[in-house]
């Protein structure tokens, strides 16, 4: 299949969903974009064909299949994932795991030819026995405390099984690492945007970032051309956490591990937008991914890890200090 003419996207409220839709609309081939979400995307009003579907609804798969068939959708981008960890674990599970199951059922019924999943290298999980560079073959071990990560590991397992049963559908899984850039915003960015960044005393792991532009470019390429398989989307190079904080001119607050985990438990419960305590293992152990496969498929990234970080820092500073 060459360039698909009709592309459906779930999760238009997420950053990837919304930005990808805008990019595809701007594409010169005159693509038609079908949006599926629970809320009407006002920014894209009038430019996309919007269908309101609640993926947590038990009959969502039938309804979605009907829409996909009616719109004769050729490619499907699944990005309906929470980008913020919430205390509402049941809803998260309903939306992410069961919602994805509904999406897969619908895609199978409508015989969608290409399926792109927005995943994350966070799914490898921070583990003390990770190799320095995780390749796409490495098992997804997630993190026992990070529920959203656990749901998404389940989604990838579901998709892998589904892909073997539907060999005529080209399945692409894109795993970006932490995204940085002028417009991207999630709980990781919020953590780094604070004047003081809490870190773990005695740990200084290597981190990597991908710039939002490189990330979107890969998503666009995977949607429009044939790139079956799993790809890590990362910038070149790694930076120690201490350097990341120093480059931003911020302060780090190193806290001893046991105290840290206890303290961090409460803000997360109090819905301040802080990630759950287990998340901070991502600032403790290595979970750097090998981007070679992604670079070969989608081209050399425009930004290295360092440049992606500086791009984020400079944009944020201008915004705050002007």
């Amino acid at each position: 299949m060459n360039t698909p003419a009709r592309i459906a996207i779930t999760g238009l409220g997420t950053w990837i969903g919304a930005r990808l839709a805008e990019r595809l609309l701007a594409h010169k081939a005159g693509l038609s974009v079908i949006g599926v979400d629970i809320r009407r995307p006002y920014r894209l009003e009038g430019r996309i064909r919007f269908h309101r579907v609640d993926l947590t609804d038990p009959t969502a798969d039938g309804r979605l299949a009907e829409i996909l068939e009616r719109e004769r959708v050729e490619a499907f981008v699944h990005a309906a994932f929470r980008r913020e960890p919430t205390p509402d674990l049941d809803y998260d599970h309903e939306l992410e795991t069961l919602g994805s199951l509904h999406v897969l059922h619908a895609c199978a019924a409508a015989k969608v030819r290409r399926f792109v999943l927005a995943s994350s290298t966070m799914l490898y999980g921070p583990w003390p026995d990770n190799p320095n560079f995780l390749t796409e073959q490495h098992p997804l071990r997630g993190h026992p405390d990070a529920h959203s990560v656990r749901n998404r590991v389940e989604v990838e397992a579901l998709l892998a099984g589904w892909a073997t049963r539907h060999p005529d559908c080209e399945v692409t899984v894109l795993r970006p690492c932490w995204i940085m850039g002028p417009s991207y915003w999630d709980h990781v960015v919020r953590m780094f945007a604070r004047p003081v960044v809490a870190t773990l005393l005695g740990y200084d792991p290597l981190l990597q970032f991908v710039h939002e532009e490189d990330c979107l470019r890969a998503f666009e390429a995977a949607t429009l051309a044939r790139h079956p398989g799993v790809f890590n989307l990362v910038g070149r190079g790694v930076l120690p956490l201490s350097t990341v904080i120093a480059l931003a001119g911020k302060r780090s607050l190193p806290l001893p591990v046991p105290l840290f985990y206890r303290m961090l438990h409460y803000p997360a419960q109090g819905q301040t937008g802080d990630p759950p305590a287990g998340f901070y293992d991502y600032l403790r152990y290595l979970w750097v991914a090998d981007g070679e496969r992604g670079w070969n498929a989608f081209g050399e990234p425009l930004y290295t890890t360092r440049e992606a970080w500086i791009s984020f820092v400079s944009s944020r500073r201008l915004r705050r200090y002007r």
């Binding site: 003390p128 026995d129 190799p131 320095n132 560079f133 390749t135 870190t199 773990l200 005393l201 005695g202 740990y203 200084d204 792991p205 290597l206 070149r236 190079g237 790694v238 930076l239 120690p240 201490s242 350097t243 120093a246 480059l247 001119g249 302060r251 780090s252 607050l253 190193p254 591990v257 152990y285 290595l286 290295t304 890890t305 360092r306 440049e307 500086i310 820092v313 400079s314 500073r317 200090y321």
Partner: protein, 323 residues
């Protein structure tokens, strides 16, 4: 193959300079600064105090790190600063006698396999320093470190910066594929945990990982015998119950540790010698030989026996532990 860190070079540096200039300008224009200047106010003092405290706590002597690390986290600046200390340890403290360094292939990757000893990877550091001294950073051998040590708080940031890499197949293969020299201690924790009366008796070489990696990557193996390191931290016996709680495999009891507290961590000044044996080429086997378990285990045992012989010969030659 160029490294990520090198490629960032120009663009990243320029951006950073521009960013620094911007930050200085913003600081100069901020009203906070002028207020502080007039009243000598408490606000900035607190900030300074906080900064100072944070620096003390978080950097512990690494305040001068450059922040430019290679893909495995080695920091050129830290390494250059540590050089005098490494030189001192090598020339004065342990008076390391290096023999057969010409057996190590001058270019391309190779896997140096040594007998391990002690909890802290002094032996890896010394082998790496013996070969990498006065050479560009890329030529410096990287030493593999057991994972419990390289993820230990406070130890982790330092070990990575001076060239330690977590011991696992993926890392070794990646380094060898980039033409780096890698120092491995295939005895693992068993080797580190040897008590004094078991000194210089090599333990089993795991499941033959080193040989398999060498076959798969087509790089030669260089057997290395380190003598003297066992006496630097002679382990009299091990405490295992308390160690579980702290997260260590065991707590060693040496003549000086824990009796002298932190001073007990200072290694004894035994006389060291490092012997590099003839390189063993395995590339004639072809990478599919790595799946031949019988062959791998036979080669592993041969390698172990060879290093054991080298160690015994070196022991025989040395006059005394301190000589």
């Amino acid at each position: 193959m160029a490294l990520g860190g090198e490629e960032e070079g120009g663009g990243g540096g320029e951006l950073r300079r521009a960013l620094d200039a911007l930050r200085d300008e913003i600081r100069a224009r901020l009203p906070l600064a002028s207020v502080a200047g007039e009243s000598g106010g408490a606000g900035p003092d607190w900030m300074e105090l906080f900064d100072e405290l944070r620096r003390r706590v978080s950097s512990l002597g690494m305040s001068e790190r450059s922040g430019e690390v290679d893909e495995f986290g080695m920091d050129e600046l830290v390494l250059r600063q540590a050089e005098p200390l490494l030189d001192f340890l090598m020339d004065r403290w342990w008076r390391v006698d290096v023999q057969g360094a010409k057996n190590v292939p001058p270019a391309g990757g190779c896997l140096l396999v040594a007998n391990g000893s002690g909890l802290l990877p002094y032996d890896g550091l010394m082998i790496s320093h013996a070969l990498g001294r006065g050479q560009p950073l890329d030529a410096r051998p990287r030493f593999l470190v057991a994972d419990w040590l390289i993820t230990l708080p406070f130890v982790q940031p330092y070990l990575a910066r001076v060239g330690g890499v977590r011991a696992c197949r993926e890392n070794a293969q990646r380094l060898l594929a980039r033409g780096r020299r890698v120092v491995a201690f295939p005895e693992g924790v068993k080797g580190a945990a040897k008590v004094f009366r078991e000194r210089y008796r090599l333990k089993r070489f795991g499941r033959g990982g080193v040989v398999r990696v060498a076959i798969e990557s087509g790089t030669p193996l260089v057997p290395v015998a380190v003598v003297g390191a066992e006496e630097a931290h002679p382990i009299l016996f091990k405490i295992e119950t308390v160690a579980r709680i702290v997260g260590l495999p065991f707590i060693p009891v040496t003549p000086t540790f824990p009796a002298l507290g932190p001073f007990g961590l200072v290694p004894l000044p035994s006389k060291w010698s490092v012997h590099f044996g003839q390189a063993i080429a395995l590339d004639y086997l072809g990478s599919e030989a790595a799946d031949d378990e019988l062959l791998v285990s036979r080669l592993t045992e041969e390698l172990r026996a060879q290093i054991q012989t080298m160690v015994e010969q070196a022991l025989h030659e040395r006059r005394s532990v301190w000589g």
